[in-house]
Amino acid sequence: MATLTKTNRRDFLKIAGTTAGGLFIGFNWMSCDSPKMEVLSTEAILGQAKNFNAFLSISPTGDIVIYSPNPELGQNIKTSFPMVVAEELDADWSKVRVLQANLDTDKFERQLTGGSGAMPHSWERLRKAGATAKYLLVAAAAKQWEVPAEELTTSESIIYHKASGKKIGYGEVANDASLLTAPEEITLKDKKEFKIIGTPVKNVENGAIFKGEPLFGLDFYREGMLHAMIQRPPFGMKIKSINDTAARNVVGVKDVVTFENSVAVVGTSTWPLMKAKKLLKVEYEADGIVESSADHDLIFKDLMANGKAEIRREDGNVIDAFKNAAQVVTAEYQCPFLSHSPMEPMNFFAHVKDDSVELVGPTQTPERARSEAAAVSGIAAENITMEITRLGGGFGRRLRADFVAEAVHVSKIMKAPVKVTWSREDDLTGGAYRPAVRYKFEAALDADGNMTGYKLRGVGMNTGNSTREHNFPAGAVANLLIDNVNYESSITTNAWRAPITNFLAYAEQSFLDEVALAAQKDPVDFRLELMDKAKANPVGGDLQYDVDRMIGVTKMAAEKSNWGKNPNVKQGFSVYYSHRTYVAQVADIEMENGTPSLKKIHVITDCGMVVNPTGADHQVRGGVVDGMGHAMYGNLTFEGGLPTQTNFDKYRLIRMKEVPAVDTYYVDSGFDPTGLGEPCLPPTGGAIANAIFSATERRLRSQPFIDQKEFQDINLGIKRA
C-alpha cells in the first residue's frame, strides 16, 4: 500500500523556475512546520527565503543536484540522504550530483552532525520532496500530451505514456513543471516498489577520496595564508611565564603571539612551527585543581561510598527487596578517559577582516563554530561565512569549536588569513575527552533466580548524569534504584561516539551476565525472561524502549550465532538499545593451542528499514571495531593535568590484525529507518568480555582489557607491545 501523506498546511516546499531554467525546489529536511507552498523566483528562494533547508534542482538537461546541509564525517549521509530523495523522484541515480552546502542559518535550520539523529528526523521529508518533484514533472508531461496524469509512469528520470508510446525526460519538462502548483497531498511509494533505497549505493565521494583530491580541512590552502600551531596549558593551569627566544629563531617562524592561555607560533609553513613549538619555554602555575589519574581513583572510591547521589529512577522498594533476597550479586565496573583521535587532527582556517570573517574547515557544528568566531572577533554572525569541508573523522570531538576560536584569535592578531593545525600531540593533550566513569551494580535474586531488585550507582565526570535510567532492565524489575553522583573535573570532557552508553552498555551487559550466572540461568534466556516481564507488566508505566524489537534482535542473535550449540565455541552475548536502534551481539571465542582466540562477532541490528546496505555495514562493522578497539586498548591517563599518552605509539588504536570477522544481520521490522553512526558500538565490549568469561571464567570489570591482570595470558589474536 502506498502511503498518502499531506504536504499542505504550513508545509515544506518552495518551488520555482531557476534563472538557468529547470525546476527548483527548496525543501525542509529537518523542520515539521514550514510556510505554505508557493511559487517564488530563485532569487527569492536563495536570497531571503527561510524555513527550508535543502535544495533539489533539476536542470533542462536532466541533471539533478541535491545540496546536502549536514557535515559529512564518514557516516555517509551525503550518499544516503540523496538516495531517499532520488527514490521517490524515480531519478536516474547516475545523473544525481550531491553538493555540500555552506553554513546558512537562514535556509538550514539544524545543520549539524551528531546523535545519529538525521535519518529518523528527515526520512519522511526527504521522501515528500522527491515525490512532490515527480508529481510536478508528471503533471507537466500530462498537460503537454493532454492525457490524464494517472496514465503516466516514471522510471530513471523518464516519463512514459504506455497507450501512445510517448516518453519524455525529466529535464525536458522541468521548466513547465516549475510553473505548476504543488499538490496538497502526495502519494509516497509502497516500500516494496523501492529501487534505490535498500540497494548498495557507493559513497558519492569515492573517486575524489581514492585519487587524493583536496577534500578535508587540512587540505585547504590559500595564497598568502599563514600557518599557526598552538601551545595550550595543562588542565587546571595557567601561563606563568613565556620564553620564546629559541622558537623565534627557527627559520620560517614569523611571530609568536599570546591570547588567553595559549601561545601561538606563526609562520609560512607547518614544519618550522612543529620545531619551534618544541622550543617554546612556557612555565605554568595552578589555576584550579590539577588532576592526575591516581587522584581520580580516590575520588571515585570516595564518591561511590559517600557521594551525594541524585536519584534518577526509583521503582518499588529496593530496601525490602535486598533484605528479602536469597542471593545478592554486587560488582563495580570502571573505565579510563579516552581521546577521540580522528585521523585528521583539529584544524581550521580563519580570515578576520575589518567587518567580516571567512571560515573554512571541518566541524560537526558549523553554527556553534560561527557563534564562537563572532564572540572572539567581535563581528556579527551574519557577516561571518562558513565553508564546511569534509571531516577526517569526528567521533564527537568536532562538536566543539575551540580550534575554530583559536584560528580566529590568531587571524585577528596577525591581521591575515591563518590556518591553525594541531599536531597529533596537541590532539591527545588538548582533547575534550570521554571522561572516566565508575559504576556499582547490585542485584537481588529470589530463591528461584528471579531478579527482584536492581541498583545502579554511577559516578561520572562533567556529564550531569552517567546513567540511562529508563533503559532495560528498567521496566523489568519490580524494585529498582538508579542514582548518580557527578564530579566536576578541570579536564575538558565532551560527547564521545555513543556518549555514556559507550561504556555503560559494557558494564550493564557484563553485570547481567554475572547475575544470570548466579541465578544459574543461560544468559540469553535470563534476559528474555526479563524482557517478557517488561512486556507483560511494565514496571513504572510505559517502557521507553520497544521491548518487542529488543526481543527480536535477541532471538535472532541466538539463532544466527548458533547460541550455545557448539561446545568448542565459547560465546558472549549482549543486547543494547541506544539512539533509537536495537542491537544484539554475540562474540565467538575458540580455543587454539589451549588459549582463547576471538574469531567472530555476530551483529543483529534493528534500525528499521536499511537505506543503503553498504553504508549500513560500514557503520555496523565500524562501530564494532571501534567498540572493541577502545575496550581492548583505549587508555588515557593523566599526570599533573597532562595526558601521559601523547601519540599513537603509546595511545593504542586497534589495527588490522586484531580485528575478528564481523557478520552483520538486519531485522526487517518494518519501521522507518533510524541512525547507525553510534548504536553498534555500545554492545561490543560486553559481548567480548562475556565470551572471555565463558572461555576462561575470568570476569573483566575494567577497561582497557589489555592492562588487566586477568587478561595477561589470554591471546585473542592480539599483538602485544
Binding site: 587524493g212 585521523m343 588490522m656
Partner: protein, 152 residues
C-alpha cells in the same frame, strides 16, 4: 635553507626549504600535493605513505633532502585517472568511511602487491597492519586488497 631537487610523479621539482623538512610537508605545504596526509608525524599510522622507488615509506619522518636520487610517487601520481587496480578495487568495495587514511592505505597496498602479487589473507593483514583506520574499515580494506591482487 637549501634547494632540494626531487622527482615526484615523474616530474622534477625544486624546493627551497630547511634540510630537515620531511617529505610530507614539502608535498603538502610547498608542492600542493595534499593527497598525502598528516596524522601522527611519528611513523605510527601510515596516513603519509608514499612510494620511494616503489617501496612504501612514511613521508612524515623521511627528510626530503635524503630523497634527491629517488623516484617518489604519491597518491596523485599512482595512476593517470585513478584507475590503478588498487584504486579500482577500493572503489568497487566502497572502502571509505571518512576517507582520510585511505590514500595512505592505497599507497601501502599498491607497494605491497607489487612485491607479493598473490598474497594470503594473513600476508595482507600483516602488510596492512602498519596503517591505522580510525573508522574501522579494516574488513573492506582486506577485501579490496584481495580483489586488487586477483584483478592483476
Amino acid at each position: 635553507m637549501a634547494i632540494i631537487n626531487l622527482k615526484i610523479n615523474g616530474k622534477a621539482h625544486s624546493v627551497d626549504v630547511e634540510e630537515d623538512t620531511p617529505l610530507l610537508w614539502v608535498l603538502r605545504d610547498h608542492l600542493g600535493l595534499v593527497g598525502t596526509k598528516y596524522s601522527c608525524g611519528i611513523a605510527q599510522c601510515g596516513a603519509c605513505t608514499v612510494h620511494k622507488n616503489g617501496e612504501a615509506i612514511f613521508s612524515c619522518v623521511t627528510p626530503a633532502a635524503s630523497l634527491t636520487e629517488d623516484k617518489i610517487t604519491t597518491i596523485e601520481g599512482l595512476s593517470e585517472n585513478g584507475d590503478h587496480p588498487v584504486q579500482k578495487a577500493w572503489a568497487e568495495v566502497d572502502v571509505a568511511q571518512c576517507g582520510y587514511c585511505q590514500a595512505g592505505q592505497i599507497m601501502n597496498a599498491s607497494a605491497f602487491l607489487k612485491k607479493n602479487a598473490s598474497p594470503s589473507m594473513e600476508e595482507i593483514d600483516e602488510a596492512m597492519n602498519r596503517n591505522i583506520c580510525r573508522c574501522g574499515t579494516y574488513h573492506k580494506i582486506r577485501e579490496a586488497v584481495a580483489m586488487a591482487a586477483k584483478s592483476k
